[in-house]
Amino acid sequence: MNIFEEYNHKMNRRNFLSGSVLGLGATALGSLLNDNMTFNNDLQLPHFAPKAKRIIYLFQSGAPSQLDLFDYKPKLKEMFGQELPSSIRGEQRVTGMTAHQKSFPLAGSKFNFAQYGKGRIWLSEILPYHQQIADEMCVIKTMHTEAINHDPAVTFLQTGSQQGARPSFGSWISYGLGSENKNLPAFCVLLSRSNNGDQPLYAKLWNNAFLPSEHQGVLFRSGDDPILYLKDPKGIDKFSRRDMLDALAKLHKLEIEQTLDDDLNGKIAQYEMAFRMQTSVPETLDVSKEPDWVFDLYGKDARKPGSYAANCLLARKLIENDVRFVQLYHQGWDQHGNLPSEISKLAKDVDQPSAALILDLKQRGLLEDTLVVWGGEFGRGCYSQGKLTVNNYGRDHHPRCYSIWMAGAGVKKGFTYGETDDFGYNIIQNPVHIHDYQATVMHLMGIDHERFTFKMQGRRYRLTDVAGKVVKSVLA
């Protein structure tokens, strides 16, 4: 829509009348009845009492192999080297990489599995620290998606559609619930990668798309300047900056009166937020005062800025300050070849910090109302990609089933949901689609995913698009 159409749209008779009358009426009604008072936003969110007030999403980019981490399939070991029966594979499309493979030999995991905790959670030996927090974990083994490649799959998970150009999960939450802490953004993103970081990530994954722009994810970089251009340049002090912002706000107001351009409101909000962040961000992200035992808990990597461990520590600090949605991305899980050695490295990167995060939140009482999610965009297949040897194999993408785990507010502790077949190929019981997962997370935050929509180009969009059912069985 070009600018004239937009202007006309805003000022057409219907909108003018509804806007003014309803606006006046609503205020009048509000003061008379005091019903449904909402304090943070006009959306009347949350819809019902939330269990989780904050969420940390530990996203493992590249697709971790669930067969080597969470889903124990002894039959694959027994049938080592045998062909994957076509009855199992069915019509599943494969990626271009394996499409030309002549055989699909089954490859059992090289690692030993055992059950841990009172919930008897299956974990492989390369997750020794997860073994110690098994009592807090709620593992979903039957996540599934339609996407076969990384970009559409991650986009699907983060925005609810493979096609993109939609707001990300964090942006929806920021738009719906806002941030309780006025000095920090509602949606923070932290990136890390293992040494062999491979699949790239895109800013669209934490973008606000058509939602107001103050809801985009704020990326914190490692290094001295976590947010670019936040600091005042040399020669400008806080008071000058404040004066400048006040003057700018006045100019913006004049402009809005003329053009009714909503984006300007977003811009003003972001200028103000940036001003507040100038003090709050350095304060919050300062780990120099953390005691030594913290670095023992999270692992020595936590001293290295930009590592996953350091990001977990920052995540905890952000959550302590009531940031609504903290998302970590750790890249490097895409092991098409050389899986056993590569995945051990990745596991080492994330194992201790993820577990430490859970325990650290728990001792501060934050785990009671914070949700932690760990998982990737799809799983990996049971047959070897490339040459299969006793000590080495690769795995291709597998969207039909994969595992994630959740912990914290509102989810069952020490619980496994869903069952896959002996090949780890198909789901036997209790599938959880991406949309179901999104609906469940929103439910935990007090949002009815079907009612939370945004009207855009004549259609009401929502994160779960047109599907999604809350998985009640994982809720405590």
Binding site: G30, S31, N34, D35, N36, M37, T38, F39, N40, Q44, L45, P46, H47, F48, A49, K51, K110, F111, G117, K118, G119, E125, I126, P128, Y129, Q131, Q132, D135, E180, N181, K182, N183, W293, D296, L297, N321, D322, P340, S341, S344, K345, K348, Q352, A355, A356, L359, D360, K362, Q363, R364, G365, E368, K412, K413, G414, F415, G446, A476
Partner: protein, 487 residues
């Protein structure tokens, strides 16, 4: 019909008129006789007025009796005595010759009527309360189980015999029934059946009242007998009604436990009754007993949502937008529990300059506040004292505040407090002693406090169902040899 019910409810009001006026008429007759004054006309007037008001009182009384909430026999007696009062009042007015005698008769009848009326509302033992029977010793041999190894036949286990000791306790008879008697019978027993409900025998409790059964065995949250106790006092359904003696939090918990354990009216095999905190000396006793009484260290999470969910089900008026604005100015965040909920979560995270007067403002919110988060603010003990007026608080976050042990003694005035975060404060074992007085507490965070193992043990013993998070986690170092080989 609403009018008749309303008029019926005027009966307790109206009866005061004939009582006062007829007694005054009698007083005047005595005065006339002994002081020789001439007040015949005044006496006539009083007798007439008194009798007329007695008639109105009777009519109102009849309407009240129609609600059926009172014992039919007692009502019958009281009703006819009341009518007789009115009749003899009129007789005294009209038959002037034997006025004095008739008035005396009227007064006597009036007093009897009044006494029976009092019995109807306050119970027969109101004027002269009966002394309670001494606690019966449960030492009857026929109650003992047929199992061979039972050594003791008393409920208090003090012997150090190595054999298995099973106790029988009559939870309903000894603990629940006295509570019902003290706090409920005045309106829910034989003589008075408010809401058509009687609570004086097992049969009647099971039967329920006008609105159906009052309990579901094993499910206290959906049992009106329990959750009506938790509703805010202003709520019409809150029991006991506002103004009547309320149940203590221990009594409330007793009912919760009793219903949860199956609402048995018979004796139970238990290691200890709920209200007593006796420590069992016999080390073997606990192992052989059913799990009902043991603190649960299961995988199931502590269900904090019970109390909160119950509060959220009830109604409360919304907070005024003026107050909301005031809080916004002070950077105190108020969020609501849902689109249609007027209950609030309060968060001080943005407050830069904390001041104790903010607590005074908070008190204006009253029972809407369910969760309160004041982490890292310089909250002190007097602030907590003021906060104890917010009766609906279920979660209180006081981590890294300036409170000391003194603050904790006000927490027992928060009857619904379930989750308490004290990490990073200067709480010591003395403070934990205060926490033992909060039996409804479900989880407490004590990391980085000045408490010691001893204090924590005491707390565990006093409140075995309490989940205590001590923090200070350390990982066991995994065996890295294996993982190295893979590289």
């Amino acid at each position: 019909m609403f009018l008749t019910e309303f008029f019926g409810r005027l009966h307790p009001l109206l009866v005061h008129l004939p009582i006062g006026i007829l007694l005054f008429a009698f007083a005047m007759i005595l005065w006339q006789r002994f002081q020789k004054v001439e007040i015949e006309q005044a006496i006539s007037f009083a007798l007439l007025l008194g009798s007329l008001s007695a008639v109105f009182a009777c009519v109102a009384g009849w309407f009240l009796a129609q609600t059926g909430e009172y014992d039919a026999d007692l009502v019958f007696q009281h009703q006819w005595m009341g009518i007789l009062t009115a009749v003899s009042g009129f007789a005294s007015y009209f038959i002037k010759r034997i006025r004095d005698i008739l008035t005396t008769v009227t007064i006597c009848v009036l007093m009897i009527t009044g006494h029976w009326g009092g019995n109807l509302t306050h119970g027969e033992n109101f004027l002269f309360p009966k002394k309670k029977d001494p606690i019966k010793v449960i030492a009857t041999s026929d109650n003992i189980s047929k199992e061979a190894d039972i050594a003791s036949n008393t409920t208090v286990s003090t012997s150090k015999k190595p054999k298995e000791i099973l106790k029988k306790s009559f939870l309903f008879r000894d603990e629940v029934l006295p509570v019902l008697e003290k706090k409920c019978f005045s309106c829910h027993s034989e003589t008075k059946k408010k809401g058509g409900l009687r609570l004086d025998t097992e049969e009647f409790i099971r039967l329920g009242g006008k609105n159906g059964p009052v309990f579901i065995a094993g499910n206290p949250e959906n049992s009106p007998l329990y959750f009506y106790l938790l509703l805010p006092e202003e709520d019409d359904n809150h029991m006991p009604p506002k103004g009547k003696p309320q149940l203590t939090s221990q009594e409330i918990n007793l009912l919760h436990e009793w219903i949860k354990q199956g609402a048995s009216f018979q004796e139970l095999l238990e290691s200890e009754t709920f209200l007593s905190a006796k420590i069992i000396e016999d080390p073997l006793a606990e192992n052989k007993l059913p799990l009902a009484a043991k603190p649960d260290i299961s995988v199931e999470p502590v269900t904090l949502q019970d109390m909160e969910a119950l509060i959220l089900k009830s109604k409360i008026e919304p907070v005024s937008p003026f107050l909301v604005e005031q809080f916004k100015q002070q950077n105190i965040i108020l969020s609501h529990f849902g689109t249609n909920s007027n209950f609030l979560m309060v968060n001080f995270v943005n407050v830069r300059e904390y001041h104790s007067s903010m607590i005074d403002d908070l008190l204006k919110l009253g029972n809407q506040v369910v969760r309160l988060r004041m982490s890292q603010q310089p909250v002190n003990d007097t602030d907590i004292k003021k906060l104890s007026a917010l009766k609906n608080i279920t979660r209180l976050n006081l981590e890294k505040t300036a409170i000391t042990d003194g603050a904790l003694k006000y927490l027992k005035d928060l009857p619904k407090l379930e989750q308490l975060n004290l990490y990073g404060t200067n709480i010591t074992d003395n403070g934990l002693l205060e926490l033992t007085k909060c039996p409804q507490l479900k989880i407490v965070f004590l990391w980085q406090t000045k408490t010691t193992d001893r204090g924590i043990e005491e707390l565990k013993r006093a409140l075995p169902h309490l989940q205590i998070e001590l923090g200070g986690f350390q990982f066991a170092k995994p065996d890295t040899v294996k993982t190295k080989n893979i590289d």
